[in-house]
């Protein structure tokens, strides 16, 4: 039986997380840790989105709704007191589980549609959540928002608990992604992405598989939302359920490479700092939106497959060309054949 974790993969993950953990311990300017919290947050969000948007091929634009539900769950439960400061973190698994359960019927309804219609239906779910957050005054505080009680953390290491919580969530999400991509469940998701009708024909339980992926992904996103709410302290409907969060997640996953383990993480580590830079440089005017839109379009036009799959493809082509030169009977890979093997190519890259 093949081992689930290859030595190279374990080494890569080990080094990555060791660096993440070491950064606050070594020290550095406080803005760096603040930015890292948001970077790791988006990496975790994108990795969760990738489970349903990347592996299953259902591009949900409604994930900010679940992010917001998680945020409000923490905000409402801990508005008076957070005890020693750690109880919101311990409540996260419960919140994640509850939101995953809510996501089952939501996913079941919306996944009756496919592709573009699914994207739009999920975006309306986002607007439903936002309308509810604005209008359920008794529960959410409406437009005035709600707030979490201030945590009693020492000023010097105030950001640490939030940062480490985000890192733990990211690690869990990546572990889940990795396990999924090596399992029968992951294979079933890939068949759904490739051709759902055929998959059903050969006996894949498509509805169960895709709705499970949706619920899993929504639950993870809600947990991240909970940490975010605790960190920022104040929760307003337009920031907790923000279309820009959804779009940021999708864009980062596309940039890094969807359906891969490291793609969403890479995308987040490129785009969040870029975003922060634009907000700094153009902050006063609204031009940062324009700058963001331009980055967006450049990525879509020039890197539609994402960074990691593009690299994998280039390596694959070179390898084939070398093989062709050596044997001189094997022709270089044509566009059609590489296209046809694309899902498997990205998949193997993701699992390594």
């Amino acid at each position: 039986m093949k081992s689930l974790v290859s030595p190279a993969g374990a080494l890569r993950a080990g080094i990555f997380f060791a660096i993440l953990i070491a950064i606050p311990l070594v020290g550095g300017p406080s803005w760096l840790l603040n930015m890292l919290i948001f970077t790791v947050m988006y990496a975790a969000l994108s990795s969760s989105w990738n489970i349903v948007g990347g592996y299953a091929g259902y591009p949900s634009l409604g994930h900010a709704a679940f992010f917001g539900i998680g945020a409000y769950a923490v905000g409402i439960t801990f508005s008076k007191s957070v005890g020693a400061g750690y109880s919101p973190f311990w409540s996260l698994p419960v919140i994640g589980l509850a939101v995953a359960l809510i996501a089952v019927p939501v996913g079941w309804i919306s996944m009756r549609t496919r592709q573009d219609v699914f994207a739009i239906v999920t975006i309306t779910i986002l607007f439903i959540a936002q309308t509810l957050a604005f209008n359920l005054n008794g529960l959410t505080g409406g437009a005035q928002g709600t707030s979490v009680a201030a945590p009693p953390f020492p000023a010097g290491t105030y950001d640490w608990p939030f940062y480490f919580a985000m890192v733990v969530i990211l690690a869990v999400t990546m572990l889940i992604s990795h396990l999924i991509s090596n399992s029968k469940f992951g294979l079933a998701l890939l068949t759904v992405r490739a051709d759902e009708d055929k998959a059903q024909g050969i006996g894949v339980r498509v509805t169960g598989v895709k709705v499970s992926a949706f619920a899993l992904s929504a639950g993870m996103v809600a947990m991240v939302g909970g940490i975010w709410a605790y960190y920022v302290g104040f929760i307003y409907p337009q920031f907790a359920v923000d279309p820009l969060i959804t779009i940021g997640i999708v864009l980062m996953t596309f940039l890094g490479g969807k359906g891969t383990l490291w793609g969403p993480v890479l995308g987040a580590f490129i785009l969040v700092p870029a975003q922060e830079y634009f907000a700094q440089a153009f902050g006063a005017s609204e031009l940062y939106l324009l700058a963001y839109a331009l980055v967006f379009i450049v990525i879509m036009l020039f890197l539609p497959r994402g960074i990691i799959p593009s690299i994998a493809m280039a390596r694959h082509r070179r390898w084939q060309r070398l093989a062709g030169e050596a044997g001189s009977t094997v022709p270089a890979a044509g566009g059609t054949s590489t296209d046809a093997m694309d899902p498997t190519a990205t998949m193997t890259e993701g699992t390594r």
Binding site: Q115, I120, T124, N135, E286, L290, P304, R305
Partner: protein, 292 residues
């Protein structure tokens, strides 16, 4: 009872305007299979152009349509040519969704830069006039907005049904490959189609600006309603979008009258989810292509 009928009249008038804005969007989907998330932002652009023409040059909002619709038509053709045509790869549908969202962000950014984020509206002298008919109030602006929408929808329908261009559009919707084999220039049809969709946004924007206060961020609100209308009607079906817009207009204004305005937008989404539960392809959407 009186309040209910009043609400239904209001709903039909509002629905007519949504029908115009949504018809452009659903047509773009029909031709190119692109869900245009920028439609709301283009409508805001139309509203601000009308606003500038009105406050700067004193041009009546309805007359300014003669200027704004050609402008947005050209902009639409340009956007399609520069940003949507070059897309390639296996997920063109998803990529184009994201690109149109980027266009929306860009337009929002430019509008915020030029006009700022304060709420504004277009107030011609007759903005608050209304007629009383059998005891029911009909606002002048809403009435003319409705009539303009009907005229433009009829013109769009005639264009699609009677002209050579319209035939090539319908052929492309039904089967792009066969249409191209028969000599239809798919690229030209796509560009002009996107331009026409943007032109309906200009008209919709002028009307929207007279009926509502708006700021550059209003497009989120608008696009969420347009998307529900378009999906409810069945993506790509103009007729479906018109019915859906009127149904939605009536439902939301009735909910506003009998319950509370707060929940009127919410009713939109609930109706949509209920319909999708029964008919995933929308009210009038065909399971196969070719619904235009």
């Amino acid at each position: 009872m009186h309040a209910l009928i009043q609400a239904i009249i209001l709903g039909i008038l509002t629905g007519g305007v949504y029908a115009l804005m949504a018809s452009g969007q659903t047509m773009i989907f029909g031709i190119m299979k692109v869900v245009n998330l920028a439609q709301g932002a283009l409508i805001m652009l139309g509203a601000y152009l009308t606003y500038s023409l009105f406050t700067g040059f004193g041009i009546d909002p309805f007359v300014s349509l003669l200027i704004t619709t050609p402008l947005l038509f050209l902009l639409g053709v340009g956007l399609q040519w520069a940003l949507l045509r070059p897309l390639h790869g296996d997920d063109v549908a998803q990529l184009s969704l994201l690109v149109t969202f980027a266009i929306a962000l860009g337009v929002e950014g430019v509008l915020s830069f030029v006009y700022g984020a304060t709420l504004t509206n277009i107030q011609p002298g007759y903005a608050n006039d209304s007629w009383t008919m059998f005891g029911f109030q009909i606002s002048v602006v809403r009435f003319w907005a409705f009539m303009i929408s009907i005229v433009l929808l009829l013109a769009l329908g005639a264009l699609l049904k009677r002209t050579k261009f319209g035939r090539s559009v319908r052929a492309t919707v039904q089967n792009p490959t066969s249409a191209e084999l028969l000599g239809v220039n798919a690229r030209r049809v796509s560009a002009i189609g996107f331009g026409l969709g943007s032109a309906t946004a200009a008209a919709g924007g002028a009307v929207f600006g007279m009926l509502n206060s708006f700021n550059p961020g209003s497009h989120y609100d608008l696009i969420s309603k347009l998307l529900t209308v378009v999906i409810l009607g069945g993506l790509g079906s103009i007729g479906g979008a018109i019915y859906a817009a009127v149904i939605m207009g009536v439902i939301s204004s009735v909910v506003a009258a009998v319950a509370s305005p707060i929940w009127s937008d919410f009713a939109f989404f609930i109706v949509l989810l209920l319909v999708l539960l029964v008919r995933p392809q929308g009210l009038f959407g065909a399971k196969t292509r070719g619904a235009l």
